[in-house]
Symmetry: C2
């Protein structure tokens, strides 16, 4: 039915399609679903008591400030905390280089607003983060995709892609969403050098960097960029070729909606103006509560616990996949983060698999959603993204068992095993 509004929508709304993740997040609210779908942290690990103490301190001592309007840039002590935290990873940002955002998603939206004219080509990984594509699509982005392998994006394909003159490249170097793969040090260096050579700036998205379960920390692109430019720059990040972004969603709590952008001061100034028009500022209250909850070393200790628990869950999922999935399915082995990425045999379709899986009360995200623009649908939809942070170990085993049966059933349908037999097996 048409309304007085429907013929008045802006052209950019044509990019809006109903999102698979969105519909799935709704399903995962049903309590009996085992969800590998969202990127949700384990809720039983949320430090609710620490938050209660923090609320008490904030409202008791600074309640008037916490409930009032505040500056667009963010709560100064939180910006300082972020800068101090980043310095431990050699990201030498001043508080003035840090803009507090309403989660990473707003960081993506503001960066898109700042940089993308309709028709601009962006360089992205294939696959890449669905939420980034959503943010970029609204502003009319086109895409050039660079495929990834186990060590992250394939550098041989990168030269040509960067030479084609994209507006910027968006990349998740650590435990990438959705694939879980990590860009190797060698490839990071090659990327930063090529990006510099062709004058293509980089947007580095690092939500999971602190959630590493094995291997050594690798320097972020923003650090390698500084080292590359180190000799001829005397002004730190003023001329930096990398915008870096991260979030408290995976380490403290996503329900607060707190993330940040690190960028040269001139870029921050523009982003601040855009953020002012977008929401004036991020909630003063949540910023102060997050600061109070995180400070004094609490967040570091908390992240240690998260690493331990998610490490175990990753191992449980990998083991369950080996036990319950047919050998024709392959998957990545992430060194950190929240996701792994499985690949079905040829001619199988993960959307059809999801429909069957939901009947068995198991959810995941079909791969197609993570490919930009012109990806081969049949090929891209052989993939599924599996989250291993949200469900407890016994539920991971049970969910993967059910999912394995559904996979085998659908392989059987297009193969030799009678489907009736498989259906019985699932109901057992």
């Amino acid at each position: 039915m048409s309304t007085p509004w429907s013929h008045r929508y802006a052209q950019r709304t044509q990019s809006l399609t109903s999102s698979t993740i969105r519909e799935l997040l709704k399903l995962t609210q049903q309590p009996d679903i085992i969800s590998f779908a969202g990127g949700m942290p384990a809720p039983e690990l949320f430090p609710t008591e620490q938050f209660e103490d923090a609320c008490h301190r904030v409202l008791g001592g600074q309640g008037q400030a916490a409930l009032q309007y505040s500056t667009t840039e963010g709560y100064p002590p939180l910006r300082e905390m972020v800068a101090r935290h980043l310095a431990r990873y050699d990201i030498l940002a001043e508080p003035e280089n840090v803009l507090i955002t309403a989660g990473s998603q707003q960081a993506l939206d503001l960066i898109a607003k700042l940089l993308i004219n309709p028709g601009d080509r962006l360089l992205v990984e294939a696959p890449t983060y669905l939420g980034a594509l959503q943010a970029f699509n609204v502003f009319g982005a086109d895409y050039v995709s660079v495929p990834t392998a186990d060590d992250g994006l394939i550098v041989d394909r990168l030269d040509e892609a960067l030479r084609s003159g994209p507006k910027f490249m968006y990349i998740l170097p650590n435990f990438q969403n959705p694939s879980g793969v990590t860009l190797s040090l060698e490839r990071r260096k090659a990327l930063v050098e090529l990006a510099d050579k062709y004058g293509i700036p980089l947007v580095e998205d690092d939500p999971y960097g602190q959630l590493r379960y094995e291997g050594d920390h690798l320097p972020p692109l923003i650090v390698l960029d500084r080292q590359t430019h180190g000799i001829r720059l005397d002004n730190g990040y003023k001329l930096g070729n990398v915008i870096y972004m991260s979030t408290f969603s995976k380490t403290l709590a996503p329900g607060l909606r707190l993330g940040w952008i690190v960028a040269p001061p001139e870029v921050i100034a523009k982003l601040v103006q855009l953020k002012q028009g977008a929401d004036l500022h991020t909630s003063t209250f949540t910023q102060m509560v997050a600061y109070e909850a995180a400070r004094g070393g609490f967040l570091d200790e908390h992240i240690k616990k998260l690493r331990q628990v998610y490490h175990e869950r990753r191992d449980v999922m990998l083991e369950a996949l080996s036990e319950f999935f047919p050998p024709e399915v392959s998957w990545t082995r992430p060194a950190g983060g929240l996701f792994l990425w499985a690949r079905l045999p040829e001619r199988m379709d993960s959307t059809r698999l999801l429909e069957a899986a939901l009947r068995q009360k198991v959810a995941f995200v079909p791969g197609n959603a993570f490919f930009a623009g012109s990806a081969d649908f049949a090929e891209s939809n052989r993939y599924l993204r599996l989250n291993f942070s949200n469900a407890k170990p016994d539920m991971i085993v049970e969910g993967i068992r059910r999912l394995g049966l559904v996979v085998k059933l659908q392989m059987g349908r297009s193969g030799s095993v009678p489907s009736q037999l498989r259906a019985d097996a699932i109901c057992a």
Copy 2:
């Protein structure tokens, strides 16, 4: 200095200008400033204890849900509460018609994203809300302005403006920001009928509707629209010609960043998709805390107190203006809200006045910022917006006294009174 980013900004960034309000809000953080500048509620009235109890209940009983991701539409009990609350004002919205936003400012941003193509003309009042212009400018809006008088916009000028085919009209009918004037019932009816006649939808912004200090409540445009369409519509708001928006910022606390949009379901669905790309959802935690703090009749009682205090402060400011301002200055007498609007004698300039006022530790917002596009700068900058909710009565008197002296001084400079004498008067 140019960075790798500065030649890559999108065209829309050309609309970004450094905002007077923004710079002023920074100044008002100095503790010794008497600020009539921001639209800030009285912080000493924030119900901090009620919030502390609410945090305790939310984190104690539902901490895992409060800190987790949630749906884009908003926390269901809060949407229901908003719908119930609106029903008391005859706005018959279902919870499905309500989208929770990060304050009114995000509502404006999402509506702009949904509707504005570059070059689209919007109909706005002259003057109108600065933050709306900021949100609309980024998406390339052009403007047709309709002047306002004491009863709100001048309907004689409206017919021609609506006939010119704007994309929509943005209007604040109650205690408008910045002018404080209220659209009369007669003019509301005329506006709704003309908008219907010419097929121009309305965006009704009502942040202050509950803060009325005298006179009777007037029906919102969205209610008059339903009554106008009542006979030929059988499906409530499905075909409504009005999008309505409001906020908890002026009644509960702005630091939470919580507002809402009421719109037909089809429009809400599109806005939800845009909000998903913008920030996934508004903080689960602040939504739950606001709900817990507001429910059970607390918010109603709290608003009664706000009305009483702000009513007094309005009267104190009106009286101080009469006492300390020269008769050549005129001002509005708002029946509610947070602002009044003063007009300087011809050839005086409120930006120059502000510079002098800041030296006397008094702040306000010069009028020019509130006029869209091609307003006559000299004429528009004869105005100043004065907020009367933030400062306490004795500070209001002192601030208006100082401001009156600065006004007289500047009148003297372009008139007959020796400036030296006036300067002494201020330092006294």
